[in-house]
């Protein structure tokens, strides 16, 4: 048997049950990606005799005698296939993990399929883009600006630097590294929601040929940690062990097997004999605080940073400004209702995982899929009592994050396995493990009371939140606090009250998720604003205009915050409302719809602080070299586009072009610190550090030229890759030579502490149609206005908005993790967890407010999480407007809408 891949013949033989995907990767074709390994996502698409197939579903032996083409071979001798070029021109990707499969599929479509992309692309999931840029690629549109003059990069739609590698399958993601002597780790997981491990008998497991070690709680440090990674450890409870002798959810890891192959490790996992003492389980969060409920962390105290372990309380908050009860009693109109937001998964296409090894210098290296390499290094240093300089954590390109990788789910196990065996190790989660054993969005029950006077001024806002953090409290407190912060601070209202509880249950933990709690409360608050407006006969736009904070108004949410660093660096909420209202009023052709379809409009708004509270740090350094500048930042690239923006900031500041800025990123070995790419901080915080470093270097360059010219440095400016003073001009290449001669490079460093913070805004508008006979929902128009300050890269920022809207449409209309009465996730696969595909996502019209931020770098502010936040709320409002029925629990699926529609409208 021999195999032909991209025109090369291979003599290697696949294993009997091996699929083509892993065989191709073993042959070195890392462009073939694993998104689901089950045929649902299309990331592993290759051509077999010219026809696209999902290589994860093809037994490898069937490729014998057939021609396989992977993304690396698509361009043939010419290097770039026209479809690869189209994806570059349109920038039809963000993280790029789906791109190889997407391009191979798109390149295979016939004319008929290209007129029906919804159907043709239903086997290709992109979690980042919202498909708009992918459609652009197929339509031959160019979204990138070819090149701009020196010093003018900022504010332009420059392409992502990794683009050429992404479309050719050469960009290296976490698992795209071949290491000799690699051992594989598989985790045995608990079948019980709550149990104590009495004993683990690993003798059978250790007898499996190729097994090197079975690691259990007896091998793991006993230190209590949180999987959540924050700059300040006090934000999360200490409730988690690397490997615990108590399991608190189905899927919790109980042992790690290290073996020569995944097959051996899996077999050993199956042969572990675990003796459990079953404990009563708590699944329903409503019962968590009731007397007699099972206690999930009985041995912990408030010293472990939990609010009240004996009541299963990870965190709680209470506060009131004014007198809500009195205000409600005298309000002209009031509204009260309970909303439930469900459990959804990040579904980043690259699963969690990584590789770890100890090098000759004794440094533990961890190559991982993370948003937070520096905070993970700190955690590993703490857990394994290693000096911080003996731990290196890094990532190259990360295949999507969405908050799910602001956690440490694999690195501690990788470190343990590498340290115990002394061998390089790899752990790659399956898609099922992503669902059952990482983290989810926090499900929340939100009870709201609101009142307004006859003029439409809010009189009272009260929220009671019950957040289900699952078995562990990673992000429990910060998410709950955040959900009760900007959501109500954006409205002026004299009487506000909040009560929040984040409770433990014996279910898969919730964690950081795009929006960080705000979408779950916004759906209640934005509904209340609409319902009050409806009672008063005021338009939803006008109602909001009468109540939103205006520049200078205090942004208040009880209880008083200890962080007073949020300022109006800029303000564009009024513009966002106007932009959406104008766009929604525009005359556009409506599709022909039968009388069964009820049409309605809905809007919702959101405010977001431009960085997390309590400090978010970033260091950047930049040095002049003979072929440009070497820029080093800590922040990670996972599709957020910050690699592009950092180069733009530096190029602008240093009067050069982005191609001369060589970026190194997300590697603790580069030095400095970076809190991480979360909380929308990649541009606002890390970008400020890059700006500061670039400014410092600019000053150095000017000073050097001034010294050479014996002129006043004040007369020197940077212009077109040179320092200029009057008629004198010294270009950067000469300066680099000068530096070499004097033996000291020109370099600048900068940092940012993430304070003060600014605020960004988004307003989403939808026109939808609901079929009263079937419950089907169609989005007829989608409009979002965003206030991102000076938009660093309009194409990328539009992509963030489109992608955020698409992901939120998924959560609002389709996606739902179902947990049964025993606490088991019943649908841990993409075919049962419907991610938005091309057919599900409308084009969103994106508008930007015209503002310039006084705090953010070059006038920019954050715009990555927040486009997600108002979407479910706006859809809920549109459905209420269309049907006259207020639905309070997404996902708004046809089978959920139908009963109430049937009651109201009949057959």
């Amino acid at each position: 048997m021999s195999f032909e891949v991209n025109g090369n013949t291979f003599a290697q033989q696949p294993r009997a049950g091996q699929c083509l995907r892993t065989f191709l990767r073993e042959l070195g074709h890392f462009g073939v990606k694993k998104g689901c390994d089950a045929g649902d996502c299309g990331a592993c698409t290759v051509l077999l005799d010219g026809e696209p197939v999902h290589s994860c579903l093809i037994p490898a032996f069937r490729a014998e005698g057939r021609a396989v083409t992977t993304i690396e071979g698509l361009g043939g001798d010419h290097g770039t296939h026209p479809m690869q070029q189209a994806f570059l021109d349109a920038q039809g990707f963000q993280c790029g993990f789906c791109t190889a499969g997407m391009i191979l599929t798109c390149a295979s479509l016939n004319q008929a399929q290209r007129t029906d992309l919804g159907s043709a692309l239903k086997g290709n999931i992109c979690r980042c883009t919202g498909y708009g840029a992918i459609e652009d690629a197929l339509l031959g549109r160019t979204n990138v600006e070819a090149s701009v003059e020196a010093g003018a990069a900022f504010g332009r739609s420059l392409p992502a630097p990794a683009g050429p590698d992404v479309v050719r399958g050469k960009a290296r993601y976490t698992f795209d590294a071949a290491i000799d002597g690699l051992l594989h780790v598989k985790l045995a997981r608990s079948p019980h929601a709550h149990a104590r491990i009495v004993a683990i008998d690993a003798s059978d497991a250790l007898n499996v040929p190729g097994v090197h070690a079975v690691l259990t709680h007896e091998d793991a440090p006993s230190i209590l940690i949180s999987t959540a990674r924050h700059e300040k450890d006090w934000m999360d409870p200490e409730d988690t062990r690397v490997l615990d002798d108590v399991v608190r959810f189905i899927g919790q890891r109980i042992a790690a097997v290290v073996a020569e192959s995944e097959a051996a490790a899996e077999e050993a996992c199956r042969r572990l004999k675990v003796d459990y003492e079953i404990l009563p389980a708590l699944i329903d969060p409503e019962l968590a605080m009731t007397p007699g409920a099972p206690i999930i962390h009985p041995d912990r105290t408030t010293a472990n940073r939990m609010a009240d372990p004996q009541r299963n309380l990870a965190a709680e908050t209470h506060g009131e400004f004014g007198d809500v009860a009195a205000a409600l009693a005298t309000s002209a109109v009031t509204y009260e209702a309970t909303f439930h937001s469900h459990r959804v998964q990040h579904a980043a296409l690259e699963t969690h995982g990584g590789l770890a090894w100890r090098d000759e210098a004794g440094v533990l290296n961890v190559r991982t899929s993370t948003q937070v390499p520096f905070l993970t290094r700190r955690a590993l240093s703490d857990i394994f009592e290693l000096p911080i300089d003996k731990v290196r954590v890094f990532c190259e390109r990360v295949g999507g994050g969405f908050g799910g990788k602001q956690e440490m789910f694999v690195e501690d196990i990788l470190a343990l396995a590498a340290l115990k065996t002394g061998r390089p190790v790899k752990l790659e989660f399956t898609r099922e493990e992503q669902f059952v054993a990482t983290s989810t969005r926090h499900p929340m029950r939100v009870h709201i009371k609101a009142g307004a006077d006859a003029s439409g001024k809010l009189t009272a806002l009260q929220l009671d939140v019950l957040s289900n953090t699952g078995a562990y409290g990673n992000h429990a407190g910060p998410v709950m606090f955040h959900s009760l912060s900007e959501s109500i601070a954006v409205y002026n209202c004299p009487n506000k009250r909040v009560d929040g509880y984040a409770v433990y249950t014996n279910t898969v933990p919730a964690g950081a998720f795009r929006g960080y709690g705000l979408p779950q409360t916004l759906i209640a608050i934005e509904a209340a604003i609409d319902e009050l407006a409806r009672q008063l006969g005021i338009s939803p736009y006008e109602m909001r205009r009468r109540n939103i904070v205006r520049e200078g108004d205090p942004m208040l949410s009880p209880p008083p915050s200890e962080f007073h660093d949020v300022l109006y660096g800029s303000y564009g909420l009024d513009q966002c409302l106007d932009l959406v209202e104008r766009a929604m009023q525009a005359d556009v052709p409506q599709p022909e719809l039968s009388p069964d379809w009820l049409i309605g409009d809905g809007i919702a708004l959101t405010m977001i602080d431009s960085a997390p509270p309590a400090g978010h740090f970033a260091d950047a350094t930049i040095a002049l070299s003979e072929d440009g500048f070497d820029l080093t930042v800590g922040t990670a690239e996972f599709g957020n586009g910050t690699s592009t923006v950092h180069r733009q900031i530096a190029a602008n500041t240093l009067a050069t072009t982005v191609d001369r800025i060589h970026l190194r990123q997300s590697d603790t070995a580069h030095g400095g610190h970076d809190t991480g790419a979360y909380g929308s901080a990649g541009t606002f915080v890390a970008g400020k550090a890059t700006h500061a470093a670039s400014m410092q270097l600019a000053d150095e360059l000017k000073a050097a030229a001034a010294a050479a010219w014996l002129c006043d440095v004040g007369t020197c400016v940077l212009e077109d890759n040179a320092v200029v003073s009057g008629v004198r001009r010294m270009n950067f290449t000469e300066l680099a030579k000068l530096a070499r001669e004097r033996g000291q490079p020109f370099a600048g460093s900068g940092n940012s502490a993430g304070t003060p913070r600014s605020v960004g805004f988004n307003v989403q508008g939808f026109r939808i149609a609901v079929n009263k006979g079937t419950g089907e929902l169609r989005i007829l128009r989608s409009v979002q206005a965003a206030d991102a300050g000076i938009v660093a890269n309009p194409m990328q920022c539009r992509g963030q908005v489109e992608g955020g809207v698409a992901q939120a449409i998924g959560a609002a209309l389709y996606e739902e993790m179902v947990i049964d009465a025993e606490g088991r996730v019943t649908n841990p696969k993409f075919r049962d967890y419907h991610l938005p595909s091309f057919a599900d996502v409308p084009r969103t019209e994106v508008y930007f407010a015209d503002t310039s931020d006084t705090i953010g770098p070059l006038g920019a502010k954050s715009m990555s999480e927040s486009p997600y936040n108002p979407v479910a709320a706006a859809l809920g409002n549109a459905i209420a407007n269309a049907t006259g029925i207020r639905f309070t629990a997404p996902p708004f699926k046809p089978d959920r809408l139908f009963p109430a529609l049937h009651d109201k409208f009949g057959d």
């Binding site: 294993r15 045929g39 579903l57 032996f61 995944e262 006979g773 049962d832 959920r896």
Partner: protein, 275 residues
């Protein structure tokens, strides 16, 4: 995904060469479901490829579809002009949750043997009065209508070692006028109700209910039913416990969609009839 417990693959070329069925065996046709989930209980795959069954055979009386015929092969069939039911083939293919890429590999037999309520090839072949031929494990053959082959959600009449050989569709069924309706929770999602109606030359209305029910349910109306008669017949024959429930649709909704789509089919087929 890799099936790491598989240690051997058999490649029989004739029925005689089929290995004796043993615990841990699985037939490998397209493999699109088999490789999509962990199969730790399996040790050997029996690859059906080398049996080289002709995918599609048209005789005077039947269209014979080999169990190993791929979805794409069936979808690509050029049907004679008098096969009025021909559009059903593509309509049912498009009802797959999976995309055209999977159609190149997945097989008609595999779809039937999975016996999911939403299996669109079950909808197609049962609506067209298809009959399964099963090679019994102990030898001999068994013929059974598709509508009876599938007995419930992921349940059918196969016993261990049985092999579905082919499905025969009578040409007469392919010459009927048909109407197709499907609904799911998402625009291109998994079918939550898939109904097919067809009209015999003698005026008999046949209605096949799938996806909303755990197995195909067939109703036949010798006399053209009005809306009430149709409704009553469905209510009587599709009892509540037959409605399927899972993440792809709640039973209350599936039931109402069944009534709704059935009525749409009745109108399409009967109200446009020349009087």
């Amino acid at each position: 995904m890799d099936l790491n417990t598989i240690t051997a693959v058999a490649h029989p070329q004739t029925r005689m060469q089929l290995p004796v069925w043993t615990a841990g065996d699985a037939w490998l046709a397209g493999g699109t479901w088999l490789l999509s989930e962990p199969q730790a209980h399996l040790t050997r795959l029996i690859d059906l490829t080398d049996l080289k069954w002709p995918a599609l055979t048209i005789t005077d009386s039947h269209l014979s579809i080999a169990a190993t015929c791929t979805i794409a092969e069936l979808d690509g069939l050029t049907c004679p002009p008098d096969w009025l039911a021909a559009p059903l083939i593509n309509q049912c293919c498009r009802a797959f949750l999976a995309s055209f890429k999977i159609w190149k590999t997945a097989t008609i037999g595999g779809n039937l043997c999975m016996s999911l309520p939403a299996g669109p090839m079950i909808s197609l072949t049962s609506a067209l009065d298809g009959v399964c031929t099963i090679w019994k494990a102990g030898g001999g053959e068994q013929r059974i209508p598709v509508a009876e082959f599938v007995t419930g959600n992921q349940r059918n009449r196969l016993t261990p070692g049985d092999l579905l050989r082919q499905i025969d569709i009578p040409i007469s069924a392919l010459k009927r006028r048909t109407a197709f309706r499907q609904i799911s929770l998402a625009p291109v999602g998994r079918s939550a109700a898939l109904l097919i109606g067809s009209l015999d030359v003698d005026g008999t209305l046949n209605l096949t209910v799938t996806a909303s029910t755990v197995r195909p349910i067939q109703l036949s109306f010798g006399k053209a039913p009005d809306a009430n008669a149709l409704r009553d017949a469905i209510a009587q024959q599709v009892t509540d416990e037959l409605y399927h429930t899972d993440i792809h649709g709640r039973p209350f909704w599936r039931k109402h969609m069944t009534f709704r789509l059935a009525e749409e089919i009745r109108r399409e087929l009967l109200e446009t009839m020349p009087s």
